[in-house]
Amino acid sequence: MANSGPPGRADLSGPVELLVDGRATYIKAPAGMPAPTPWFSISLEGGGGQSPLSDLPQIGSDPAAGLAYLRGVSDDVEEIGSDQVRGVATTHYRAVVNIGEVLAEAPPRDRDQLRHGLRMLGLEQLPMDVWLDAEGLLRRQVTAIDLSQSEFFADPGRPAAAQELVTTVEFYDFGTEVDITPPPADQVTKLEDMLNR
């Protein structure tokens, strides 16, 4: 990746490679970033205040995490109609996710961290649109988070509509060959350690 900025300054406008492996997120250091290793990591382990970074909501860093929301939909799911997603025939549904249900379905080890993140975002319910193909596979998922309800992220100076964060995730080429290998430990620096240097 070419770095057009001044020497020693990270080019944060370019692509960033991200790898999520369970509770660890690895980020490849952008070009020009004065990092001691090619990768740095953020871990969810040690949450509950032991690490300031582990207290950050992890919503959005894991595109596959949205599958958990599907298990928390309320009973009044609306069928919007037929649609095409990347050339595949789908049915479009509109639902509201009950966050309490998502927490109840979450693995016990993830529950506290998830609850903390959702509380920071001020979420109790989450509007969600999903597109399912004929086999029932999730093809597209659109969620809208109203940050104006968050005591941490709300900006009183801006209208609520301008604080709505919309995330679209699309899955395709199911069954494709995947080769994901986390970087070796000697190629990784914990982000907390980098910030303390």
């Binding site: 692509p15 790898l19 009044d76 596979l137």
Partner: protein
């Protein structure tokens, strides 16, 4: 040899017939509700094991800002997603 009376034989045949009959013939096919379809998609999608993924996060209203966008692959327990934002 033990004897089975006619009444009991009839009951036995009825039970055997019930057991050997596919449930789909006895029970009307049920249509999956939208809520059931959406809830079931979580496990159905995870069972596909791998997929390519595209994601985009941004503000809906002005100023429309795309905070992050990317694409990669996912095995639903770990994923590699090169993106930018």
């Amino acid at each position: 040899m033990r004897h089975v009376g006619a009444g009991r034989l009839g009951l036995l045949l009825f039970l055997l017939a019930g057991c050997s009959t596919p449930a789909t013939q006895e029970t009307p096919a049920t249509q999956e509700t939208p809520a059931e379809a959406v809830a079931a998609a979580a496990s159905k999608t995870a069972e596909a094991k791998t997929a390519r993924v595209f994601f985009s996060t941004g503000q809906r209203e002005a100023p429309k800002t795309k905070l992050a966008t990317g694409r990669g692959v996912v095995d639903f327990s770990r994923q590699r997603v090169p993106g930018h934002g």
